[in-house]
């Protein structure tokens, strides 16, 4: 299999965003994943979100680990630099990239094997550090490329395609992200574009560690009866807590909502997050309550989706390290090298 490019013929009437770009300008190579794979829907949602936000494609750096999900950055944003790193280690590579240039948008794409098994350590620590990024896990509960072994997010008691029952407890990355200090935490379903696109937009405009767990059924190995990550199961047990709209600074607010129904929060970058509550008892600004809520619904077999927690004024690693506002990769000798006079002085003090 080699690299496939898409024909660049555009329909003249394709809608354009404020940069004059069509959705096609945000696409990548043709996907080599299985037909109907949930991951391709997530790629489409990423394209849609970036297009709607009118992000300059080349100002995004897309990073991934290894696995089916980690292949997807090839399938969107082909004007962006991409980095398909090593298994489970995307978070550290992304952290380093972010430290080098704080001005780009960092999009990390990973899978459940990549993030919850081999890479759980790096997943945890990138959240703790509050790296400014959007971290998407395309979660299918299974190892696709190696043909169907359980991953660590598979629920206990769920059934593999060949009939094996998973006896190990499943890891909920949403709960971990909440506990470890991510400042924007959401869960969605690859089959629900209406919900997913705004969640990605919110994450991309969030200036801290944003995490989205996207349940993404594996059509080849985890879409059968007895799986808790199949299309049917997720559709039946999906419990959305809210509905989201993200309005950038440049865009006029047109939609009207009844007062009281909608919560508006201005983010640090000026964009506004509009949250329409579906579940009355749920409060997305309360981290502890979110953790409790997710767990209590899980106990009765429901998968809670939506924006589960966010703070409009997040901390980020550059803030913690107190780095200069200029990207570090743009500093030269003048800013970095103390020069000969300083060295002579130092020599003097070492005699």
């Amino acid at each position: 299999m080699t690299y496939l490019t898409k024909p660049k013929l555009h329909h003249p009437d394709l809608p354009k965003n404020s940069l004059g770009l069509t959705r096609r300008d945000y696409e990548g190579a043709i996907s080599t994943l299985c037909a109907g794979c949930g991951h391709d829907s997530i790629s489409a949602a990423i394209i849609q979100a970036c297009w709607e936000l009118a992000i300059q494609p080349h100002r995004v750096a897309k990073l991934s680990g290894i696995g089916c999900s980690s292949k997807t950055p090839t399938y969107f944003l082909d004007k962006s630099h991409g980095f398909n790193s090593v298994h489970g280690r995307m978070p550290s590579v992304l952290t380093g990239a972010n430290l080098a240039n704080r001005d780009l948008i960092y999009l990390g794409v990973s899978g459940d094997g990549d993030s919850a098994s081999i890479g759980i350590g790096q997943f945890a620590h990138v959240m703790r550090r509050g790296v400014n990024m959007t971290y998407i896990v395309e979660n299918n509960g299974v190892y696709g490329l190696t043909k169907g072994q359980f991953s660590a997010t598979a629920d206990r008691g769920s059934k593999a395609k060949r009939g094996a029952i998973n006896t190990d407890e499943g890891i909920d990355l949403v709960l971990m992200a909440l506990q470890l200090g991510a400042t924007y935490v959401a869960r969605s379903f690859s089959g629900d574009k209406e919900q997913l696109v705004p969640l990605i937009k919110g994450a991309l405009t969030h200036e801290g560690a944003a995490f989205i767990d996207v349940i993404s059924p594996c059509v080849a190995f985890n879409n059968h009866e007895g799986s808790t990550k199949s299309f049917d199961y997720v559709r039946e047990h999906n419990e959305a807590v809210n509905q989201l709209d993200v309005i950038t600074v440049h865009k006029e607010i047109t939609t009207r909502y009844e007062p009281g129904e909608v919560q508006e929060v201005r983010q640090h970058d000026g964009s506004v997050i509009r949250l329409r509550k579906i579940e009355e008892k749920f409060d997305a600004s309360d981290r502890i309550a979110a953790m409790t809520y997710v767990q209590s619904r899980y106990a009765i077999g429901e998968i809670v989706t939506g924006l589960l927690y966010f703070t409009p004024k997040p901390r980020d690693l550059h803030g913690s390290l107190n780095t200069v506002p200029q990207p570090l990769n743009q500093l030269g000798e003048r800013e970095l090298c103390p020069g000969r006079a300083a060295l002579d002085k130092l020599n003097e003090s070492l005699r």
């Binding site: 690299y3 750096a61 991409g82 952290t95 380093g96 990239a97 030269g332 130092l346 005699r351």
Partner: protein
């Protein structure tokens, strides 16, 4: 018998870890330096915070030999736990200085060793009420006493204390008082040993600093902005020194913000991942670690090699394998660094000989990594890294510019310069890269550890894979021009015998060659400073009948590399190996080489007029 020596002896302090002896002992060494007499101190310490034995060995050498000599002329035995071993180490006719507060049976001494007893505990208990003060000042008291016995100028000691406690006058007075207390007692009560320090002017403008600190400073001068690390002996002090230097030299004076980012990562895997991510994105980045960290980083190092991302890795080597002897020195990571990772890989290695070269090679490593777009290893070791060493002053040329290598910027791309990430346009194996975010339409590519074609497109075509692997070899060949060239030294007469060595072995070799020459045994020497080996290394071996390869590891790792990579005949290369965790000595090298030269039937050449004898 009493040993007699002026400016040429070894003092060893046997202490208990955590007792505050380190700063007192350093004071002792620095005072001798200030008198213009070269010293070479070494910390010999356990993997422990408090309670286990620790030693500080100071070699005083008018001739300027900075290697470890071996043997002890004056033992300062402050640790009852190690008494027997310490006593045994003293040369016949040497001296034992000890705390005589508690009487010891005669069986605890040696007839051929001169004993100098001083009731240190008694003196301190009388002078101080606080137990912590009694302990801390005891160290200063013995320094005061030793200084008096060895004729170390008390003014130099007091000046050093003044510099140390500048702005903390409250601490200055009691320290000077303790120093004088020791001195007064010694002058009134103790016999003078035959060892003496005499003022000289042999230190010149040389400086005294630790290799880890020097290498960290080299990173500051070399423009590193991102550092990621995981604590491990003996490299932690390098990361800490980088933080200290950055606070001093890299803080924006107006905003107080830093022109650097340091992350103490969760492990070595994350450390190298952060370095690779930062370097991919155009920042100069490094990590510092030791052997176990290199083992953990293997997969990522292969990625950096294959995806061609600059990365600078400092390996402050210690004794392996596994946890080995974590606080002892070795040169045993040469092969694991040279061929780090699975598949066919080779990496650039630099071998600094001392802190000064640690500084230079650190700064140079960033230029090399950017120029060659590959990982560059700087192989320090514990002996260089964690000891203060007398070396030439650090130098920097203000006209020097960073070599950022082949990077296309916005204007290049806008002007339509040809770009293929793995396209060898200059026939040197080095291709052009772009940083993320450079141009809206041109220059983006996908970085991956999987095989790809010249335009960075994923492929499993055998021919494209081979094409790429061959280009990487070509690039490694190109590296030979850029790495530091070896240092070649001909013996007085020229010789059919040669010796190859590297890194911290230098001072011991200098001394050994001089002593061999003193016996009219002449050996030419080559100090290898980098891998890949420049052609001069091959020529050196070709021009000698026989070459000794001196290393501080069991398996003759550099020799393996010489045979495998420079295609040198193994029968010409005789390993001389020292690997017990202590720094190699001139005595060891001398005896090994002299013995083997005899086996080759070499009789000492007649002394010539040139040597003046």
């Amino acid at each position: 018998m009493k040993l007699e020596a002026v400016n040429d002896f070894v003092v060893k302090f046997a202490n208990v870890n955590g007792s505050g002896s380190a700063s007192a002992n350093t004071l002792f060494a620095r005072a001798i330096l200030r008198m213009g007499v070269p010293v070479s101190p070494r910390n010999i310490f356990p993997s422990n915070i408090q309670g286990l034995p620790t030693w500080y060995e100071v070699r005083v050498s008018e001739r300027g030999w900075l290697g470890r000599r071996g043997g002890v002329d004056l033992m300062v035995a402050m640790n009852p736990q190690t008494w027997d071993k310490d006593l045994a180490e003293i040369e016949p006719g040497g001296y034992l200085f000890y705390d005589s507060t508690k009487p010891l049976p005669k069986s605890k001494f040696r007839d051929d060793v001169n004993v100098v007893g001083m009731p240190l505990t008694e003196i301190c208990n009388a002078a101080y009420a606080d137990p912590r003060q009694r302990q801390l000042f005891k160290n200063i008291v013995y320094v005061g006493a030793l200084a008096a016995l060895l004729d170390i100028d008390p003014a130099e000691l007091e000046k050093l204390i003044g510099e140390q406690y500048k702005g903390k006058e409250k601490l200055f007075e009691p320290n000077v008082k303790a120093l004088r207390m020791g001195r007064d007692y010694a002058l009134a009560n103790l016999p003078k040993p035959g060892l003496q320090v005499r003022r000289s002017n042999l230190v010149g403008d040389r400086i005294f600093l630790e290799g880890n600190s020097a290498a960290a400073l080299g990173c500051v001068y070399g423009g590193a902005t991102v550092a990621a690390w995981y604590p491990i002996t003996p490299s932690s002090s390098m990361a800490e020194a980088f933080a200290k230097h950055c606070r001093k030299y890299r803080t924006d004076p107006d905003s107080g913000k830093g022109r650097y980012a340091i992350v103490q990562a969760e492990d070595e895997l994350a450390s190298i991942g952060i370095v690779i991510g930062a370097a991919w994105n155009g920042a100069r980045a490094f990590t510092c670690t030791s052997g176990p960290g290199i083992s953990l980083m293997q997969e990522f190092i292969g990625l950096a090699y294959f995806a061609e991302i600059p990365a600078v890795i400092f390996d402050v080597q210690r004794a392996g394998p596994s946890t080995g002897m974590p606080t002892r020195t070795q040169q045993s990571d040469v092969l694991s660094c040279a061929f780090a990772s699975h598949g066919d890989t080779k990496h650039v290695l630099l071998f600094p000989e001392d802190p000064r070269e640690g500084f230079e090679m650190a700064a140079m490593a960033f230029d090399l990594a950017d120029r060659l777009q590959t990982p560059v290893f700087v192989l320090l070791d514990l002996d260089i890294g964690m000891n203060e060493r007398l070396c030439q002053p650090l130098k920097w040329d203000d006209s020097r510019r960073y070599d950022r290598g082949k990077v296309l910027n916005y204007n290049d791309l806008e002007a339509g310069k040809r770009f293929g990430r793995y396209l060898d346009l200059d026939a040197d194996g080095i291709t052009y890269r772009t940083y993320p975010g450079t141009h809206p339409k041109r220059g983006a590519f996908f970085t991956r550890g999987t095989s790809r074609d010249r335009y960075a497109r994923y492929t499993e075509e055998g021919s494209a894979y081979v094409d790429n692997m061959e280009r990487l070899l070509k690039k490694f060949e190109t590296a030979k021009e850029f790495v530091p060239q070896p240092v070649h030294r001909r013996a007085g007469k020229g010789s059919r015998f040669g010796v190859i060595y590297y890194g911290s072995t230098s001072p011991a070799i200098d001394e050994a060659l001089a002593s061999l020459e003193g016996e009219a045994l002449y050996v030419d020497a080559m100090r290898v400073r980098a891998f890949p080996f420049p052609d001069e290394v091959t020529d050196f071996v070709a021009h000698h009948d026989h070459v000794f390869v001196v290393e501080q590891n069991r398996d003759a790792q550099l020799r393996t590399l010489l045979v495998a990579e420079a295609m040198l005949p193994s029968e010409k290369l005789t390993p001389v190996l020292h690997y017990d965790g202590t720094p190699i000595t001139a005595r060891f090298i001398h005896s090994q080489i002299a013995q083997r030269l005899k086996a080759f039937n070499v009789s000492p050449l007649k002394r010539t007029a040139a040597t003046g004898e």
